[in-house]
Symmetry: C2
Subunit: 352 residues, 2 copies
Amino acid sequence: MEPGSGPRRVTIVDVAAHARVSTTAVSKVMRNAYGVSPAMRERVTAAIAELGYRPRAAARGMRGRTYTIGVLLPDIRNPFFPDIVDGITGHLHDSEYQVMIGTGGRGPGDGAGDAESELRVVDAMVDRGMDGMVLVAPAAGQKRLDEVAGGVPVVVIGRHMRSARHDTVVDDDARGAALVVDHLTGLGHRRIAHIDQREPDRGRAETMPNAVRTRGYRDAMRAHGLEAEIDVVSTGYTEDGGYRGAKWLLERTIRPTAIFAGADIVAMGVLTAVAEAGLRVPHDISVAGYDNTSFAALGPIGLTSVDQAGRQIGADAARLLVQRMADTGRASTFITTSPNLVVRRTTATPPA
Amino acid sequence: MEPGSGPRRVTIVDVAAHARVSTTAVSKVMRNAYGVSPAMRERVTAAIAELGYRPRAAARGMRGRTYTIGVLLPDIRNPFFPDIVDGITGHLHDSEYQVMIGTGGRGPGDGAGDAESELRVVDAMVDRGMDGMVLVAPAAGQKRLDEVAGGVPVVVIGRHMRSARHDTVVDDDARGAALVVDHLTGLGHRRIAHIDQREPDRGRAETMPNAVRTRGYRDAMRAHGLEAEIDVVSTGYTEDGGYRGAKWLLERTIRPTAIFAGADIVAMGVLTAVAEAGLRVPHDISVAGYDNTSFAALGPIGLTSVDQAGRQIGADAARLLVQRMADTGRASTFITTSPNLVVRRTTATPPA
DNA sequence: TTGAAAGCGCTAACAC
DNA sequence: GTGTTAGCGCTTTCAA
């Protein structure tokens, strides 16, 4: 029991006394460690059950592990991240590890990827002795990530960079963006605009998923001979970012016939702006997203989107993390997953 | 540094040696405790900065606090919960506390409110020495909650029950449900169905938000002389729950003219099912939700919903928690917030 | 005001 | 196979 009153919490000493064995024995049984006779194990197990003993993770953490895995999410509102979390917790469900989620302490309206806030959360997780961490699209630089990964097993999701210190799971974002552009040009679109997330740091630009999607968009446009039509608005991967970006685009004298939003959550804002402008989707303008979140599939939405199998990505990350926690020095793994385009009802031939 | 190699982590001993003071002094400075001269404070502060010292939360937790607050969410997919989390983190932003979020390890498709999984998470938080916890719509029984709250400061959000051990912040769910029914009957609806979350435990039924909304719906229907039209389908507060519930309702020989979903996330599933059935909203059928999440306001959705100010609720909870952590023995507070109906475009007069 | 020393609950060496 | 003994990095009495 912490500061509260109540009865003192059962400790390993109580269990040892109750079972008339040493605390070492209890500790070993708890950890399924080597060197306990079946008889001893049984007595200890019984005592544990009888007293309702649960070890304190903090105390364990002082010497061994805390059995806690930290997951850093850039933004809890983006419906794509729960998919990843599901994959992680699903993989860890039968293990002794507990997942704790941390997000930047940002209010709504602020852009995702607040680097300072993220730094605090990562530090906080390290300070709390997490046995391992999954960092989803972290904004930190390579150097900082390597630093963190040097101290605790880390798997990074979404950053396009290899590191010897941590494992990486990433979607082929350039390919995903190309899928969208190919699809839209195939329908006859030429003026295809893209809304992405502003990337303040030039250094890490090449490795952030948003930046790679934008690059994929540019390259694909060029490949279709549409270099002159390239049109990127940078706001943020939030609903509001999509709303503001679309407002901006719709005010153009020659407005785009299609908007490719860098994330489904962005597309949501786009749809709102489009509706407010009195335009109909896809009759007047086509809209596509990225992530294929559950909201994209909603009846009244039916958003064309790029599927990147968040659950699978999360599960892969968890698997790699477990391996790395077991063998800290192992060589790092780099997994790339392939995106798929899911065509729904927000994309069609452009207005005549 | 945990298991990893790398340089040993800076400890309080290093700082003390570097500043040529005792570890006690460093500890006091870290905690802004009473009894340090300005000169001493300055030297210690300098040493801390120079060495980049950050205390290990686990070690602090052995004697004092961990500076960590646990937030239990029943479901990370429901877009209402980020509002609450924003309120909590917003209030705690400038404090020394860090927020860690835990959710049941459920895969998609399972209903929310998995009691066993929730139990594990709450235990895990207690075991990890959380200084305080905010439990959002926990499924646990009164007894269990009091037990937990006896050991660590707790604020419960969403349960309709007073407890001497923990504070409570709750929306007037019965009133919210009545607002919807009043609105729909005012439009001329009589066959108003409700989709709620199955409540397996009779004991706690009266106190769960879903159950109270259902009761509010029933009472309001009766008040309008529509007792015979009461029609409740129990699935879960998930998108899939809404989808299945609506499928079921739409198969009725005499189908309802309006569906009141117990949560926005449920309404999302309803909208999908309605669209699949080839029906138009609100022309053929009206739909209303609860929570007024950001998705309700989306252009293509425009869902009529009950606003319960999640951000405010979260902020209130955080405020109460901070007070309780400062004074464990204080009398408990019970806050009820008043819901508001936000009418959008999914509700209209019933078909002739 | 300052610091020495005793733990917090657990795990890891090391004896037996 | 079992128990004894040191700590892990902090906070907290309690003397000085």
